[in-house]
């Protein structure tokens, strides 16, 4: 009997084969259509590459969501990071896509059960390249325009951390170092490498505009306050190997 991971591996392997054969028959590198087929075969069971009908599904969509929304991947990700992550995937959200699915109640409080996670399949370098090209072409249609207003400024590690932890409360859900902060949100010490600065600014400003079922609150921050937080993300992100 195949486990879930075996099935994923088998499906992944098949799609790699399909993509490889298609490229071979065509006599050139894989096309956008090949990449799209690969994504449809391998990614859409866990990731939305088109906008879901959030209103119709209600909050159940968030509970059942298996992986991050990708229909605005081109607005969100840094291309080089996405390429390297697909080749060597690792968990960015300590609590997974929906933490309650990975939470167990113990005498020491709720903890994350690492045995409940299925590793994301690694994508071979040449295939990852065309998949990244495809994903970077995906953009949200009805979100605030992503204008680059952020100009990096220096921030001290001490003041930046204080702002992140005590004043804005980000550390309740996010880690700003491997061993510091909350576990339900994505790690923030790699945010600068993962995401475009204009996306980070826009998402902090209005998470629900991007994801109607975002688990991140809108703290109604002024642009300048958001920039200070991004200064800190830049500082800790550039320190992270």
């Amino acid at each position: 009997m195949f486990t879930h991971n075996d099935k994923v591996k088998k499906r992944n392997g098949l799609a790699v084969l399909v993509l490889g054969v298609t490229g071979l028959l065509a006599g050139h590198t894989a096309t956008a259509a090949d990449a799209r087929r690969y994504v449809e075969d391998n990614c859409v069971s866990c990731h939305a590459v088109t906008k879901p009908d959030f209103a119709a599904s209600g909050i159940i969509e968030r509970i059942e969501r298996k992986g991050p929304l990708l229909y605005y991947a081109g607005d969100k990700f840094n291309e080089t990071w996405l390429q390297s992550w697909l080749e060597k995937p690792h968990r960015i959200r300590p609590g997974g896509s929906f933490p309650p699915h990975h939470t167990v109640v113990t005498d020491d409080g709720d903890v994350i059960d690492d045995n409940t996670f299925h590793p994301h399949p690694a994508v071979p370098k040449d295939i990852a390249k065309v998949v990244v090209d495809y994903l970077m072409g995906l953009h949200a249609q009805d979100v605030p325009s992503l204008t680059q207003t952020y100009q990096p400024k220096q921030v001290s590690a001490v003041l930046g951390k204080m702002n992140f932890n005590k004043f804005k409360g980000c550390a309740a859900c996010h880690r700003d170092a491997e061993d510091s902060g909350g576990l339900s949100g994505p790690e923030m010490y790699t945010a600068w490498k993962r995401m475009k600065p204009e996306f980070i600014v826009s998402y902090i400003k209005d998470p629900v505009a991007w994801d109607p079922h975002s688990m991140m609150p809108n703290r109604h921050l002024q642009e300048a306050d958001i920039h200070k937080l991004v200064d800190y993300l830049k500082l800790i992100g550039e320190k992270t190997p």
């Binding site: 609590g95 939470t103 004043f167 339900s184 079922h213 688990m215 609150p217």
Partner: protein, 129 residues
């Protein structure tokens, strides 16, 4: 005869699709205790705990423990209006921790009301179960 077949078919389609439509409508409206329970799972358990006891997965590094929603006496000292305000406008609005965020950007008033109704079952109905 044909008319009877058509009526039977229409009835069959209605019977099979109605529950789906009803579930979808209920989910979209997000009201009532069941909706409150779902919303609690999405927005609250990470800090307040799966059991509502204040020991969620995020608390290890917190300087203030999240509210224990199973503490009947403490929760009974808060009115529904207090709870609504804390959820909608966050800890700062009620002179509590900034770590409790304002959920006004994520939740409608109707959804917050359903959360308050669910909180009342967590805090104060356990002895009657």
């Amino acid at each position: 005869m044909t008319r009877r077949i058509i009526i039977s078919l229409l009835l069959g389609i209605t019977i099979t699709t109605l529950p789906v439509v009803m579930i979808r409508t209920a989910q979209a409206n997000e009201s009532g205790i069941d909706a409150g329970k779902r919303l609690y799972q999405v927005y609250c358990v990470q800090c307040h705990g799966v059991g509502g006891d204040g020991y969620g997965i995020n608390v290890a590094d917190m300087e203030v423990l999240p509210k224990d929603h199973t503490d009947t006496r403490e929760m009974q000292s808060r009115t529904d209006k207090d709870l609504f305000k804390a959820i909608k406008h966050g800890g700062k609005a009620i002179d509590k921790s900034v770590l409790m965020p304002n959920w006004d950007g994520n939740l409608s008033d109707q959804q917050i009301e359903s959360l308050v109704r669910y909180l009342r079952t967590v805090c104060c109905e356990k002895k009657t179960k």
